[in-house]
């Protein structure tokens, strides 16, 4: 009851302040009037009586204030008072306010963005019921394993999954609704896909296992909500409508629920189709067991009580069985399972986000150190004011509370600004389409969690930097300060502020080092040696299947295409590669090869698993790949000639021991074909920039024609003109043939993407770090000069040289800068080991990086001390001494 009464009066004190005020005034004046009545009765005049009554009452304002406190309104009142006072104080130094708020806004903004990324990509499971317990195989985990027949066997034989679904990507499909054909991206999924995910359609129905009756038997598609909304404008009559996918008729049977974007967090497909129909569109054969192209991933909910490790072991058991049953077609490796959503990119994404998190935390720490030293400097400057307030009876708690109010005000302002910045950036990131043709989607919409994190960070950093000057305030001795003027503690021992500055400079040096390493990595990856020369090379992707060519007409058409392209003026070389060229879409085909003497060609006996490229004659010239020995292919290397291969140096060394010894030797393919080595090519990169050196082999495309190929045209002509010329040639060959023309460099954007993003992110962090270093050193140097103006003036008056004045004024900040930079450089170089898995050739022992960091820190130091140095040099002792 007591508590409720207190609460009530507390609340009324806040919300009905005017009522309480009136009430109190009425009560107090009622007292005075009663007293005056009594005094009047004792014979005084009314006026005199009221005057006496007022005097007898005592300090009216004081007792009113105390009564307010008794009513419980004092806390709020005090806070409001602190708030008003803080605002006044801050408004008096707008420069400090601006610097502090901006510093914090950048630091908190950076952290909020990284948190948004982490939340969207790492913390949040897939947007389906029980998404956190969906486990799947990893793409690229198991070559010659991700095929449809293997999926069926795994689905039926495993004992760990409640049900197992599978999906594959079908990118760049022509979707024709009858009016305007567009290119769309889809997922080809097993019939039980939606059942396993336990989701319900928004409109119409999903397809189910009952719809699948063999290859190309289920021409149905389900649209994603976003695609339906954007392309069909929420038209509910689309259900049952016929569309054409690459000329094949399909029926739209449903729309997926809003928010469901397939089973990869970072991709947003436009539609889903049954995997039994994917052969029509992608040409990936459904019933071939020995392929990696038919499936991307298999996944499902684990049965109750089954751990992921047990499930992986179970998958391995099925794998071993299949390997035994189909020795020529299945090679099974140990399985890893992961929660569905990030697939094999999981460790890289998590590592990247963790690295960013660390750097962002460092930025915030540096910002806090920065503001902490600014606050400490201000507290020192205000020691006189603090002393006066103490002398006038204010308590130290009250003064500290006011300092904290100031800090929290600044941190909240900085936090809000940072949050706004991060929200704008995250919104942009979520609609970012950096790679043409890939439906990238970063689910990073800002939400309540983000606001909470930003608020928390703001408050924590506010308290952190407000902690710095506490000791100073507690030590202030009012009598000393008022007597002797402001505290000037000249001394050579390290103060808290010195330590803060070193920490801050060190952190900044770490950030600058990281961004330099990343920048070097990017420059290297742009001008690196890939084992081919992507410059001046136009790629024309053509899939003859979609244009209706039967397999027997493919080789002739491709030969005619090459001949036609060669006639374009300015073209140096034309070649063709089946499927994808190296470093395009992180796509590569690995196959088993065996030593010549191996008789039992089961995958377990394979000597090597190189990347395989089926290429036309002139490929090495067109790609700019150097042949180290032997020859490339000619038009006579067709089905009738003995099989020959060009292998890379790695392949030659691992199987034959040396480059020169490989020529003329032979090896076997999975199907038993004996292949003789005709040439050895230089090593290269095949699916990613950061991969270890992989073996690769090139076979003649004439022996295994494929309808899906890239024509590569090397020419120094302007790419746009060249592309137009190439298209014109295709038009005369076959007017109805769809052609994709892009430069090899453009096609490589997917593999460049991680290191670009890393460089961008690290670059921004480095810039932030550099800015913090500048403001930190500037603050320190400016403060050092302003504190010692009088001393410097006396030095000048006594005949000190300019260099001596500079030495006296800036020696200390510069020494601290040196310490901090050295420490940061060492730490930063250690940290680059962490970066090396994202950034191409991130090596700490790079003279350019070392030099770059030292130069950058020197420049930053120079920049930051420039103005204070000018101020120190322009001291006029006469004016200064007169003022004091």
């Amino acid at each position: 009851m007591k508590l409720t009464a207190q609460l009530r009066s507390f609340c009324s004190a806040i919300f009905q302040r005017s009522t309480v005020e009136n009430d109190l005034n009425a009560e107090l004046s009622s007292h005075i009037l009663h007293r005056a009545d009594d005094l009047q009765r004792s014979g005084l005049t009314r006026r005199e009586a009221e005057r006496r009554a007022r005097i007898e009452f005592g300090g009216y304002v004081k007792y009113k204030e105390e009564s307010h406190q008794a009513l419980g309104g004092n806390l709020v009142e005090g806070l409001l008072h602190d708030l008003r006072y803080s605002l006044r104080v801050l408004a008096k130094s707008p420069g400090f306010l601006l610097a502090a708020v901006l510093t914090l806004a950048l630091a908190i903004g950076a952290n909020a963005i990284v948190f948004g990324l982490m939340d969207g990509l790492v913390l949040r499971p897939l947007n389906v019921p029980h998404g956190e317990s969906l486990y799947g195989t990893l793409y690229g985990n198991n070559p010659t394993w991700q095929s449809y027949p293997n999926y069926l066997d795994l689905r039926d034989r495993n004992r760990s999954f409640e049900a197992l679904a599978a999906f594959n990507m079908v990118l760049g499909v022509g979707l024709d609704t009858g009016s305007d054909p567009t290119v769309a991206n889809g997922f080809a999924t097993s019939g039980n896909y939606f059942d396993v995910l336990q989701i319900q359609p928004f409109l119409g129905r999903f397809f189910h296992p009952a719809d699948e009756r063999g290859p190309n038997s289920a021409p149905y598609i389900v649209l994603t909500y976003a695609y339906w909304h954007a392309q069909f404008h929420d038209d509910r009559t689309v259900i049952g409508r016929q569309v054409r996918l690459d000329q094949h008729p399909y029926t739209i049977i449903g729309v997926a629920p809003p928010g469901f974007q397939g089973t990869l967090i970072f991709l947003s497909p436009d539609f889903f189709m049954p995997i039994v129909n994917q052969e029509q569109l992608s040409g990936a054969s459904l019933n071939t067991r020995n392929t990696d192209h038919a499936l991307f991933e298999e996944f499902g909910h684990l049965k109750p009580g089954v751990t992921p490790a047990q499930a992986a072991a179970d998958v391995d058991t099925v794998g071993a069985y299949l390997e035994k049953t189909y020795p020529k077609e299945v090679g099974h490796h140990t399985t890893r399972l992961a929660t569905e959503g990030l697939t094999s990119f999981g460790p890289a994404v998590r590592g990247f986000v963790a690295a960013l998190m660390l750097l962002a935390a460092l930025i915030l720490l540096a910002a806090c150190a920065n503001l902490g030293s600014l606050f400490a400097a201000r507290a020192a400057d205000r020691s006189r004011e603090v002393a006066l307030r103490l002398a006038l009876g204010s308590s130290r708690t009250r003064i500290l509370r006011q300092l904290f109010t100031e800090a929290v005000l600044i941190s909240l302002a900085g936090g809000s600004l940072g949050l706004l910045l991060s929200m704008a950036l995250l919104r942009r990131l979520s609609t970012w389409q950096p790679i043409p043709g890939v439906p990238l989607h970063l689910p990073v919409a800002p939400d309540a969690k983000l606001y909470a994190v930003a608020l928390l960070l703001a408050l924590v950093s506010g308290f952190l930097f407000a902690l710095v000057p506490i000791r100073q305030v507690l030590r202030v001795n009012p009598y000393e300060v008022v007597k002797a003027g402001s505290l000037t503690r000249a001394g050579h021992r390290f103060t808290v502020r010195d330590v803060l500055l070193i920490v801050q400079v060190a952190i900044c040096a770490v950030l600058v080092t990281s961004s330099m390493v990343a920048l070097r990595g990017l420059v290297r990856s742009l001008h690196g040696n890939y084992g081919f020369d992507p410059r001046n090379t136009m790629m024309a992707g053509v899939n003859l299947t979609t244009a209706g060519y039967t397999p027997d007409r493919v080789p002739a058409m491709q030969r005619r295409t090459i001949d036609a392209l060669k006639t374009i003026p300015g073209v140096e070389h034309v070649a063709m590669v089946n499927s994808y060229p190296p470093l395009v879409y992180t796509a590569g085909n690995m196959t088993n090869v065996f030593r010549e003497e191996t008789a039992d060609l089961k995958p377990a006996n394979a000597a090597l698993m190189p990347y395989e490229y089926d290429v036309s004659p002139d490929y090495f010239e067109a790609a700019g790949t150097a042949l180290l020995a032997g020859r490339g292919f000619s038009w006579s290397d067709d089905k009738n000639a003995p099989a020959v291969a060009v292998i890379n140096r790695e392949f030659a060394q691992r199987i034959f021991g040396s480059v020169s010894g490989a020529i003329g030797r032979a090896f076997k393919l999975q199907d038993g074909t004996r292949v003789q080595v005709a040439g050895v090519a230089e090593d290269g990169k095949y699916i990613s920039l950061t991969e270890d050196q992989q073996p690769a082999m090139f076979l003649s495309a004439l022996r295994s024609p494929a309808p899906d190929a890239y024509f590569m045209v090397r020419s120094r002509r302007d790419p746009q003109q060249l592309a137009a010329a190439i298209r014109a040639r295709f038009h005369t060959l076959d007017a109805g043939l769809p052609v994709d023309t892009e430069t090899w460099t453009q096609l490589m954007e997917v593999v460049m993407f991680p290191s670009r993003v890393a460089t961008l992110a690290l670059g921004v962090m480095g810039m932030l770090g550099a800015m913090l270093a500048v403001t930190g050193i500037f603050g320190m140097a400016a403060y050092a000069v302003s504190k010692r103006l009088r001393e410097l003036g006396i030095r000048v008056a006594l005949g000190a040289q300019r260099s001596e004045v500079l030495q006296a004024a800036l020696g200390r900040p510069l020494r601290l800068l040196g310490f901090g930079s050295a420490a940061g450089l060492i730490l930063g170089l250690l940290a680059t080991k962490v970066l090396s898995f994202i950034v191409y050739q991130a090596t700490p022992r790079d003279p350019f990086v070392l030099l770059g960091v030292v130069l950058a820190m020197l420049l930053l130091g120079l920049l930051a001390t420039w103005i204070p140095a000018r101020r120190a040099l322009s001291i006029n002792p006469m004016i200064l001494l007169r003022e004091e």
Partner: protein, 123 residues
């Protein structure tokens, strides 16, 4: 440093509770009654009464209500609540206990010093 302010409010609170326990009073009435029952020996600074009154009201020991005084003026009347009555009983017995202990101690003359020394050694 012993602070007078910490002792005085306690005493004042008890006086106010006692005064109000004899019947509802407005602030000035409380003052008069304390002066009256103390035989004019206790003089209270008039304004100091109000922070104490409001504190007691906030603690739920007093209930207040606006009314018309004997002078025909608006005044706020205070009245003891159940909790206030309980508090008054407790404080009164506590006061009596301390007062008797104090008077016993102050009555002791020469024996006081050794008695304390022995106690100190035992502890």
């Amino acid at each position: 440093m012993p602070d007078q302010a910490t002792i005085l409010p306690g005493t004042l609170d008890l006086l106010i509770l006692k005064a109000v326990s004899l019947g509802p009073l407005h602030g000035y009435g409380v003052l008069l009654r304390i002066e009256q029952i103390s035989g004019q020996t206790l003089l209270i600074e008039q304004g100091a009464l109000y922070p104490a009154l409001l504190r007691l009201a906030t603690q739920g020991l007093l209930a207040s209500e606006w009314g018309i005084s004997e002078n025909n003026r608006r005044a706020k009347f205070y009245q003891l609540t159940a909790a206030g009555r309980k508090r008054l009983r407790e404080e009164t017995s506590e006061w009596n206990r301390i007062a008797s202990v104090m008077s016993t101690i102050l009555a002791v003359q020469s024996l006081a010093a050794p008695a304390f020394a022995v106690q100190g050694e035992e502890a």
